[in-house]
Symmetry: C4
């Protein structure tokens, strides 16, 4: 296999993978909130009109903050994995590039949900984006474990990383399923799940997962 | 607490937190000024029309440079904290992610103020954005101190960091309060405060805070 | 040659070249997908209309994912080269800056092809962008080799890097030539070539190149 | 001076300054070219119409590539300085933040010139942007030298850095002055100067500066 020399050296750098990831997350996070447009000047002539225009935007702001939190959760998750591996490999690099492609789609699916918050399809696409990110992160962990790219990592920790992804995605899926009742209810459950993951450990919640 | 293994390793990397922060600041800073649109070609036919179109944009340019300075101040402030801590923790990482969410909102609140410079609500939102950034930076410092994430840091320096945030935010709040008289006056006081922080130390000002 | 002192120190940093590259790739990758606009709210009133609006966008999404993969391939390729060189030089830095200029053009040529997918000129420009990236990467490798900027690298690996670029570009060119029959066929061959490069090594394909 | 403890630790990190700079340059470089919009689909129905629409864009593409080169020159220049200094300081950090503010204005002044290429004011603003970048870089070098932030640097190199900036800015200013004859002539001279700086050292030109 003469390809060996090339593929053995390609995509080895964990540091550059981390740097590219930080860049993609930074751009996606900033563009997310950038979709908030200022009210059109010609429709606002006084304080009251500005305040009511901003009030109309409030749900949109909440959705964007929610997506920022989602990206934050996945950034922490990916970072934790990359910190635990000792080196990357060509395959792992491509799995993480697929992960980053999913990250760049987040501003789109967020904008879609913000625009069509009452339609189920918009919520399902938003959830599908979260699901894809979770699946790829799960796959990247499995690959890192089976290719022995990890440094000295306790088996318990290996299982903890997997369990965490599975539990979170189960809750997200349950939330998404509620969209047969109401997309807004779905969104509320998904955001609540995320808040538990962000604030939970502090509050003593989630101590079993 | 079986969650320990995961949460002990999640979000530990000070380096990646710094890299993500630099990315978010870089994008926010560049997008800030990008909101300056060139005059519409169809309305400009000669030098005089171009110059007058640019003159109309001048206040907007000043506001954007002011926001760039604001982001610069907070970037230096965050950097100083991150340089002093020895490692991050999951909680500290999330506090800084909240800080970055505030940073990404800066282009929006800047554009809002540039568009509605005579309306108090626009100024109050702009100030609220600065306030939120200050509060989170204060919280992150307190957490870093109480969780003993700092390396060897003199107590005097610990107090200096806190005092600096409190004094600056007090001056910003006083400036914002002046918007009952005029939003422009508020803005002038806020920008003057920032200039003192940027140029002050050099000029021998601020030697007591 | 009094210029020596300056040009000997200018553009030496491999690390900063890598950091700038990661930044440019991150922004280009994110902006690529950002060109997906949500359907206009006034044209969508129910689930069916949203789904059909999204279906219309599907080919565009595929094209964007294809371009993301293209950028991923070139990012891995550039990274591999930069990992193998021990230091940069002023000339090599400028070659990589030219490479990055080509990267920043990718969102434009992608949008062009997405918009005019049935026109040959759009496909030729898209291919020309890929060709330029390949040529510059080939040139940068030759310069790195002849200026002895590489560390200890086996001759076989040096040839493998070159061969890889030449074979890939030959396949891309063959694909592009098919546009005399149909631009869509061209695109399919180009994307298939890329998929082989991404998935191939794993599947045992490409073992001879 | 009780402020000392804070200002002695604020803004010290050369690494984070470099990271922020790479981020700002990366975003500015990518956004520059992003201003190239694809022709409007409704005005293009066949190959000939697309080609002629692209031909109309050609000068704009050249201007954007020119600005990319400008940013490249300043990125190399700043990088060279940051590589030579051993640590940053609060003052130097703020000088570089001002430099980055100038960098973020480059997409605006480029778009302005692309839009109004026959008007002198547009060219003067473009040149003023380059001048500001040069002046700040000159100032940052002087500060680095006089604050003894450099490591062991030969006096000859110190002078070479300064001379280079002065000569380049003199040529740019001479080019800009030619706009009394024609803005296009000005632009040609400025771009020619830049090309000499990029390619010159290789070609044996510039051996005296």
């Amino acid at each position: 296999m003469t390809e060996k020399p090339y593929n053995l050296v390609a995509g080895q750098s964990r540091e550059r993978l981390a740097a590219l990831s930080d860049g993609v997350f930074a751009v996606a996070m900033t563009l997310l909130v950038l979709d908030l447009h200022t009210p059109v000047a010609s429709t606002v002539h006084n304080e009251r009109e500005l305040l009511s225009a901003l009030l109309v935007m409030a749900p949109r702001l909440l959705i964007y903050l929610g997506s920022f939190m989602t990206l934050g959760i996945f950034w922490v998750g990916q970072q934790t994995q990359l910190n635990l591996i000792e080196r990357s490999s060509r395959d792992l690099t491509w799995i993480h590039l697929a992960f980053l492609a999913g990250v760049t789609l987040m501003p789109f699916s967020t904008a879609l949900m913000a625009e069509f918050i009452t339609l189920r399809s918009a919520l399902v696409i938003y959830w599908a984006n979260i699901l894809v990110l979770g699946l790829i992160l799960f796959a990247s962990w499995r690959v890192a474990v089976s290719y022995k790219l990890l440094g000295n990592t306790e088996p318990e920790l290996i299982r903890a990383v997997e369990r965490r992804i599975v539990v979170a995605q189960t809750l997200y899926a349950a939330g998404a399923a509620l969209c047969v009742i109401s997309p807004l209810l779905s969104l509320a459950v998904i955001v609540a799940t995320q808040l538990v993951y962000v604030i939970g450990p502090k509050a003593g919640l989630l101590s079993r997962i």
